[in-house]
């Protein structure tokens, strides 16, 4: 380690200490900035201290990263990880240079498990050679900010090309990950819970993206689809098909809004969160764990003993009402939430809040690609809408056949809105900044503690 890099790290650590321990503010961007300004190669100076795993993709990065962290810790690894708010280069640099890196209990190298924004993969991978890239999924997401899915994947590939030795561990159910010209070894995980007798071969529904075969650009067919364009796909014009899976979901037993039970490679597992998409997150963590020689039993224990990390779908109580808050930001994510609502056995109401600030995506047209019509198959009893773009979401749900809606233009009336719902169970789906405003209201009314 050079004097310059030592100085860079020391400065970053004191800035972090000042921010975090003295001023009680989060944030790792400023320490990252400081360190890089003193030594632009500061990351190179510490890369031998740990193995780097990059987790990237559109949906599920945060929970997947948290799960991988717990799984590797259960296997005796010392793990460094970042917060979802700092998944770009400066935040990540800050995280790495301010972390105390202790030796692993199992005698192996510590592991840095980093959630990385798709557009920042190359910046990280060019500074530190990763040992593994974990690719969750790529869906269209806030096109005004991120662009099209193949452009996003190209950005990730640009990062992969910096580390030809790294293993690419990818979701094999997503056809896009079979594309790309790079020499890295690819290993796949996916779902294989449907017996061949139950296959229903056919094309995906019309509003599904990314369904062309990489070989001859024909429309792919599927033996089964789990959600969106994920599933067991094959070409009807040539030999192209889903690659062999190294890690697979072998059974799906019970899907409820609060938990799921399933098996991966015949190990029965349970996670304390609903939604099939969250089983993908668990599968990804399982696959990474096994790649690092963590046993299936240790992974099972890691899932069971860390129930609190499945907290993203937040459950709170408002005067006897059982309220679940879910973030929505793109069609696939919203459809997954609606699929989760299909597993709700009780009557419920839904409050949908739409904002269109930069962090939400300023283009609201995606709400027309989410299949709100499917809510008619659930036990939904009432719908209310609100947020800055309440008119958009109001008309969307009206045209989906929910004509009778309470409308809340002003989120300061949100507690009142919840209380006015006719059922005990209430789901609130909200875009990012609407969710922050909602939390602020619930916080000042005393229904949730602390900040966010």
């Amino acid at each position: 380690m050079t004097l310059k890099s030592t100085l860079a790290r020391t400065t970053a650590k004191s800035a972090h200490w000042l921010l975090h321990d003295v001023l009680h503010r989060g944030g790792t961007s400023l320490p990252g900035k400081l360190a890089v300004s003193i030594d632009p190669d500061v990351l190179k100076s510490i890369q031998q201290d740990f193995d780097l795993v990059i987790v990237t993709g559109t949906n599920g990065k945060t929970l997947t990263t948290a799960l991988i962290t717990r799984v590797l810790q259960a296997g005796g690894y010392e793990v460094i990880t970042n917060h979802s708010g700092s998944n770009m280069i400066q935040g990540i640099t800050g995280t790495l240079v301010t972390s105390k890196i202790k030796p692993s209990a199992n005698g192996k190298k510590p592991v840095a498990v980093l959630e990385v924004d798709e557009a920042n993969v190359e910046k990280i991978a060019s500074a530190i050679k990763p040992k593994m890239f974990v690719l969750t999924n790529i869906f269209r997401d806030q096109l005004d900010r991120y662009g099209e899915i193949y452009t996003t994947y190209d950005k990730i590939i640009a990062g992969i090309k910096h580390a030809p030795e790294a293993v690419v561990l990818a979701n094999g159910d997503s056809p896009i990950f079979t594309r790309g010209d790079f020499p890295n070894e690819r290993r796949y995980f996916g779902f294989n819970h449907v017996q061949p007798a139950e296959y229903q071969p056919g094309a995906a529904p019309i509003n599904t993206d990314g369904i062309l075969s990489p070989t001859d650009h024909s429309v792919l067919h599927y033996d089964f689809i789990t959600y969106a364009n994920l599933g067991k796909y094959f070409s009807t014009t040539d030999q192209f098909a889903r690659p062999n899976l190294r890690y697979q979901v072998t059974h799906v037993d019970e899907l409820t809004p609060k938990y799921s039970t399933f098996s991966i490679d015949n190990t029965p597992l349970r996670i304390e969160i609903g939604g099939l998409y969250n089983i993908y997150n668990a599968l990804t963590a399982f696959a990474v764990g096994r790649e690092f020689n963590v046993s299936a039993d240790q992974i099972k224990t890691a899932f069971e003993s860390n129930a609190q990390i499945f907290g993203r779908q937040e459950a709170i109580h408002v005067d006897g009402k059982d309220v679940t808050i879910v973030l929505i930001k793109n069609p696939v994510g919203t459809n997954s939430v609606i699929d989760m609502m299909l597993t709700e056995q009780d009557d419920f109401s839904m409050l949908a809040l739409l904002n269109a600030n930069y962090a939400d995506g300023i283009d609201t047209s995606w709400i027309w690609d989410a299949e709100f019509e499917k809510l008619h198959d659930t036990n939904i009893q009432a719908v209310a809408t609100g947020g800055q773009r309440y008119k958009d979401i109001h008309v969307r749900l009206k045209m989906a056949g929910f004509e009778d809606q309470a409308i809340y233009q002003d989120l300061t009336r949100i507690v009142e809105a919840i209380k006015a719902m006719p059922t005990d169970k209430v789901y609130i789906v909200a875009t990012y900044t609407a969710m922050l405003q909602l939390r602020e209201q619930l916080g000042s009314a005393g229904y949730i503690k602390g900040g966010f």
Binding site: R140, I211, D363, T364, S365, W366, W368, K398
Partner: protein
């Protein structure tokens, strides 16, 4: 009581569907249902024949660059039938990529030139074209408001495109830009009207946010199929969604 229905063709609905275009069908169906008209939906995609006599309304949406090149290739075998449909006053809404491909050609951001089918006279160049005098090299992204020159109606939407479209013979703009950029950021035109074809860059989707336009196109569609009924009066009884 007689029953009325319309058949809708969604051209490449499995590939050209990137920015909420399907919302246009949802909106059309919503207004149709309000006046007792049933809608039948048909996907017409790669390898399928487009039968010009089988449909009362056609939606041709926008897609990602990759899908758009595949569609452009397949579209050639549908060109004659589409031309016939359009020249026989068939109602059609083309958004973004669909709008571009009905013209002579489009140039993608990377400079690749993709042939359209030229059933309409516009062409689309890319944001790096040297002839651009405004906003060269920038995507045209943001909220947009336009005013229809024939009837003064205002339409609201969101645009997000790199392509710059210039209208040709016999084509007039869907509207004049009040705020935003429109077809090319230079001549204040947005979209196109040619016979009963409407083209636009609006991702809004345009029919959901502009019920006035949706109802007008629906009335045209129904009048063409069932000329003895006053559809406009029926539609006037339905509240117009506009935001």
């Amino acid at each position: 009581m007689a029953t009325y229905d319309i058949s809708v063709a969604h051209l490449y609905g499995d590939l050209m569907n990137t920015y909420g275009d399907y919302g246009n069908i949802i909106a059309l169906k919503y207004y149709a249902t309000k006046i007792g008209v049933t809608m039948n939906y048909h996907l017409v995609s790669l390898g399928d024949r487009f039968d010009s006599s089988a449909f009362d309304f056609v939606l041709f949406g926008g897609g990602q660059d990759y899908e758009e090149t595949i569609v452009a290739e397949d579209l050639k075998q549908k060109a004659t039938d589409l031309k016939q449909y359009i020249e026989h006053d068939g109602p059609l809404l083309a958004v973004c990529g669909g709008f571009q491909l009905l013209g002579h050609y489009m140039v993608m951001a990377d400079g690749k030139k993709v042939d359209g089918i030229g059933v309409m006279d516009h062409f689309t160049t890319n944001m790096y074209d040297k002839s651009l005098t405004v906003l060269s090299g920038k995507r045209l992204t943001g909220n947009i408001v336009i005013k229809n020159n024939d009837n003064g109606e205002e339409y609201h939407g969101f645009e997000n495109h790199q392509g710059r479209t210039f209208l040709g013979q016999g084509e007039r703009a869907l509207g004049t830009v009040i705020s935003g950029n429109g077809n090319n950021g230079m001549d204040h035109s947005e979209g196109v009207i040619y016979k009963n074809v409407y083209g636009s860059y609006f991702h809004g989707p345009i029919f959901t946010r502009n019920g006035n336009l949706a109802k007008r196109v629906l009335a045209t569609t129904l009048q063409r199929k069932y000329p003895d009924i006053d559809w406009q009066s029926k539609l006037n009884t339905v509240p117009t969604e506009s935001f």
